[in-house]
């Protein structure tokens, strides 16, 4: 699945450059990248969490943290900052620290370019040689892209709360049960479609990077197709995927009724136990793209739903009904 983040591997320099345009101003992006309470929520590839022991962003300062992989493996990291120029540039030496002397060392740089209210971020890793870079690229490219996509989804709702829309409800079942019913296709097809729609296809590959492709038919025979790409599956607490409309071959398409509706939205399911048989389900849709028409459409819909219009539409409808 294509993402807004992309990688460049220069032929003449042993670098891996990962880049993305973010829907947030530069000062905000700098802030979330330099404060432990923010960066711990999105740093690393999909499914990774972080324990941060120390983060002191200044020349000679250290960032000591352990990344916890989705497979349970721990990755100790040490960063020693060299140059720090808020809000646009920093560089550092990266290795595994004292906990992991074998951890792979590299030189890292981060640069932020302001583009209006948006920010272009560039992460650059410099390895010891082109050959070493090519070896590292085998795993680091995908991880770097995922890292920037996570940052994008984290920072967009901070820049504008309308970039996230939330619904929640508590259900009288265990966390595990709710997680299964919201993630496995044999359950999903029993509830996750509008009433009266027939499921014509529901094909799921439930793993990070896997997809769920489904087709629904209305009673009058029209078909609606959608596709989901899983980003994070953390039993039984979190499920993250990208959601789109599609055609029946699984190609991403625009919303059949509203072409400026976001082509992709990040959907986050959080399962929060409130008792042995009581679990709150919170679903967030996040627009982390950079298209102004898409973001305006997303905002319009959600602003009106969350009461941001203060009933102005209702008022207008009343007026129109009377005239």
């Amino acid at each position: 699945m294509s993402t807004l983040a992309f990688t460049t591997l220069p032929k003449d320099k042993p670098m891996i450059i990962t880049e993305r345009l973010l829907n947030a101003p530069r000062e905000l992006v700098w802030k979330v990248l330099t404060e432990a309470d923010h960066i711990k929520h999105f740093w690393g590839p999909d499914g990774f969490t972080n324990s941060i022991r120390q983060m002191d962003v200044k020349p000679g300062g250290q960032w000591l943290f352990t990344m916890h992989g989705p497979d349970g493996k721990d990755w100790p990291n040490r960063i020693i900052y060299r140059d720090v120029k808020p809000p646009s540039y920093m560089s550092w030496d990266h290795d595994g620290g004292e906990d992991d002397p074998s951890g792979h060392p590299f030189f890292g740089e981060l640069e932020l370019f302001a583009e209006g209210n948006k920010t272009r971020i560039q992460l650059r890793m410099t390895e010891s040689s082109i050959a070493a870079r090519d070896e590292v690229a085998k795993f680091a490219v995908a991880g770097g892209i995922q890292n920037l996509e996570r940052l994008a989804a984290y920072v967009a709702p901070m820049a504008d709360p309308l970039n996230r829309f939330v619904v929640e409800r508590t259900f009288p079942v265990s966390q595990q049960r709710l997680f299964e019913v919201c993630s496995k296709v044999e359950h999903l097809r029993n509830w996750m479609s509008p009433v009266g729609m027939k499921v014509v296809k529901a094909e799921q590959d439930l793993k990070p990077g896997g997809t769920y492709h489904y087709g629904l038919a209305t009673p009058d025979g029209r078909e609606m197709w959608g596709k989901v790409t899983y980003r994070e599956i953390t039993p039984h607490s979190r499920l993250v995927y990208e959601q789109s409309f599609s055609d029946k071959d699984g190609n991403i398409t625009a919303h059949p009724m509203a072409p400026t509706w976001p082509k992709k939205m990040v959907t986050l399911f959080e399962f929060m136990p409130e008792g042995p048989k009581q679990t709150k389900l919170k679903i967030s849709w996040i627009y982390s793209g950079v298209d102004d028409a898409e973001s305006a459409t997303f905002h319009t819909a959600h602003d009106s739903m969350s009461g941001g219009w203060k009933g102005s539409l209702d008022q207008l409808q009343n007026y129109l009904a009377q005239n």
Binding site: V167, R169, F171, P172, V173, R177, L178, V181, C182, H187, N190, W191, M192, S193, P194, V195, A254, M257, A258, P259, T260, I283, D291, D292, A293, E294, A296, T297, H299, T300, A301, S304, M305, W309, S312, L313, Q315, L316, Q317, Y319, L320, N323
Partner: protein, 113 residues
Amino acid sequence: MQSLADPLSLKLAALADPTRRAILQRLGKGTANVAELAKPFAMSQPAISKHLKVLESAGLIERGRAAQSRPCRLAPKGLVEVEHWLNAYRAMWEKNFDRLEAYLETLTKEEQS
């Protein structure tokens, strides 16, 4: 940027701006011309005219042709389509939650029997 040629997208894009929503709200109280509409905003008449143009091409307002002042009024059916779409969207997850609740109940009953 995608094409805004279809009516619903045009309307949603027009409604995305708070000034234009305020203009619609003002027109909800009755017909007004550009000068009257510009008054409550710290905006020039040409700036308001631009917003009116967007609202007009989205089919949300109508403007008189005859008079110089071209009085504006709400288009009678302009918002119906938007309302339908938003209502459907709003209702979708509420209904899905209802279905999920019913499905969970079925599962629990099956296990108990």
